[in-house]
């Protein structure tokens, strides 16, 4: 436990000293959300209809942008091996790392979403569902992204490959989240979608650490 707490402290400290890494996904989120009205039309009726999907796709893409940095730096300077050799189980280390990473890449997206929702004519009364769906969704995406990051951390062109690997796996999250946000916007009950997201999150938290730990070991083995 002491080891995991030290890891969290280290990661947060590193994030504060390298704010660029944190800012990039957030800026990307905002830019993508802004591009859609420019690409489609600024009419409020149209925007209100596409807002849930646009916000979700933007969050998905921005989340993927942020995933590459999850293990890259530790891999390159040799810290990852030391974490593997450390006393804490790699699966727990991985889970801690994913969560800390989410705090700095996923959570800002969740916090920004209502403001972007305003710009895209998303109804204010549905903000609660939107934020909740994005919170669950970005957590799940961090977990899935970690699998992709762990599998590609040692490769030269990991930046291109990671989204290709993760996007098919992220389809259910996108569907449940975006449809839930759309249902809430129309005034319908979005509980089913949120429960499904919750179930995916539980499944992810239990299974993903093992996959990621296995993938990291494979990435380190040559």
């Amino acid at each position: 436990m002491r080891a995991l707490a030290a890891l969290v402290r280290r990661d947060l400290r590193l994030c504060f000293r390298r704010p660029g890494e944190v800012a990039t996904p957030v800026l990307f989120f905002v830019m993508v959300a802004v591009l859609f009205p420019l690409g489609l039309s600024p009419q409020p009726e149209l925007l209100a209809m596409v807002a849930p999907g646009v916000l979700w796709v933007a969050a998905l893409l921005a989340g993927l942008i942020g995933q590459e940095s999850l293990f890259k730096s530790d891999y390159e300077d040799g810290s990852l091996e030391q974490l593997l050799l450390g006393p804490a189980a790699l699966e727990l280390v991985v889970l801690t790392r994913i969560f800390t990473h989410w705090l700095t890449t996923g959570l800002p997206l969740v916090i920004l979403s209502p403001f972007l929702g305003l710009m895209l004519d998303y109804p204010v009364q549905a903000f609660g569902t939107l934020v909740l769906s994005l919170m669950l969704g970005t957590l799940i995406l961090s977990l899935l992204g970690a699998v992709g990051a762990a599998l590609t951390v040692g490769l030269r062109q990991s930046g291109m490959l990671l989204p290709i690997l993760v996007l098919p796996l992220a389809v259910p999250v996108l569907i449940f989240g975006a449809q839930g946000a759309a249902q809430a916007a129309r005034g319908e009950d979005a509980a089913a979608a949120l429960y499904l997201l919750g179930a995916l999150l539980v499944l992810g938290v239990t299974l993903v650490p093992f996959a990621v730990a296995g993938a990291l070991r494979i990435s380190l083995e040559s």
Binding site: L151, L161, I164, P168, P172, A211, S219, E221, S222
Partner: protein, 249 residues
């Protein structure tokens, strides 16, 4: 489990043994496939009557349904072989997974093309976002991701293990993806059903269909065995038994 079962398992894992076994079995599967294709196509294109709703256009199911079925079965095979390779550290299992993936991707692609061609006479468009076709499309991405990943690694032994992890993560996701796409489709399209409606399908249509499925499976088996042979040769190129075998030919 008796010792004799385990020795069979371990013998199968030996590259020279599997190579020879594959060489003996492949021609049988090949001929069975040829016969099955001939019988199935004859039954489907000539003997079976035209569907009263769709006319002759429906006959494409004789290619579409077997392709879709095989694309799914092949992914299960890739995942199963990956699991065996990771758990028992059997390199030949990884060779099976790596050999099967491009075949699965091809069948998925074929299923998508035939599904799209079916759509044109049926619905007037080349692409319909129904649950089955959308799921097939995502399956294609899963296959391509697997292939891209294991080829991106410099060390092929590590690459195939990484691919194996991805395949296992993918196979857990497949039912989730399928369910989510069905849910999504039901929210937006109501009761439109496209492929494989559970309406009554007469024996004259069903028998050629089953024949085609069996024929496709045999074709897949034949191709897979040949591809595994090629994989084995590539991996074992420096081994004694390969050199001996090449000297004999």
């Amino acid at each position: 489990m008796s010792p004799s079962n385990w020795t069979w398992f371990h013998r199968l894992a030996s590259p020279p043994y599997f190579y020879r076994l594959a060489g003996r079995l492949a021609p049988w599967f090949g001929w069975a496939a040829a016969l099955g294709l001939a019988a199935g196509l004859y039954g489907g294109l000539w003997l079976a009557p035209a569907d009263y709703q769709q006319g002759d256009g429906f006959r494409i199911i004789y290619i579409h349904v077997p392709s879709a079925y095989l694309s799914m079965m092949c992914y299960m095979l890739v995942a199963g072989a990956s699991a065996i390779g990771l758990v028992w550290r059997m390199k030949l299992a990884h060779a099976v997974a790596v050999a099967a993936a491009p075949l699965g991707a091809s069948f998925t692609f074929l299923a998508l093309i035939t599904g799209s061609l079916w759509g044109k006479p049926m619905w007037g468009t080349y692409w319909v976002w129904d649950a089955r076709l959308t799921s097939e499309l995502i399956l294609l991405f899963l296959y391509l991701g697997f292939i891209a990943l294991h080829q991106a690694y410099e060390d092929p032994r590590s690459g195939e293990r990484a691919g194996a992890v991805l395949a296992l993560v993918g196979v857990v996701n497949v039912p989730i993806i399928h369910y989510s796409v069905v849910w999504w489709s039901s929210l937006h399209q109501g009761s439109t059903v496209f492929v494989g409606s559970k309406s009554d399908i007469s024996a004259s249509m069903l028998i050629p269909l089953l024949t085609m499925i069996a024929a496709f499976t045999c074709y897949f088996a034949a191709c897979l065995l040949k591809r595994i042979q090629a994989e084995i040769l590539e991996r074992e190129q420096n081994a004694g038994w390969v050199r001996e075998m090449l000297e004999q030919t």
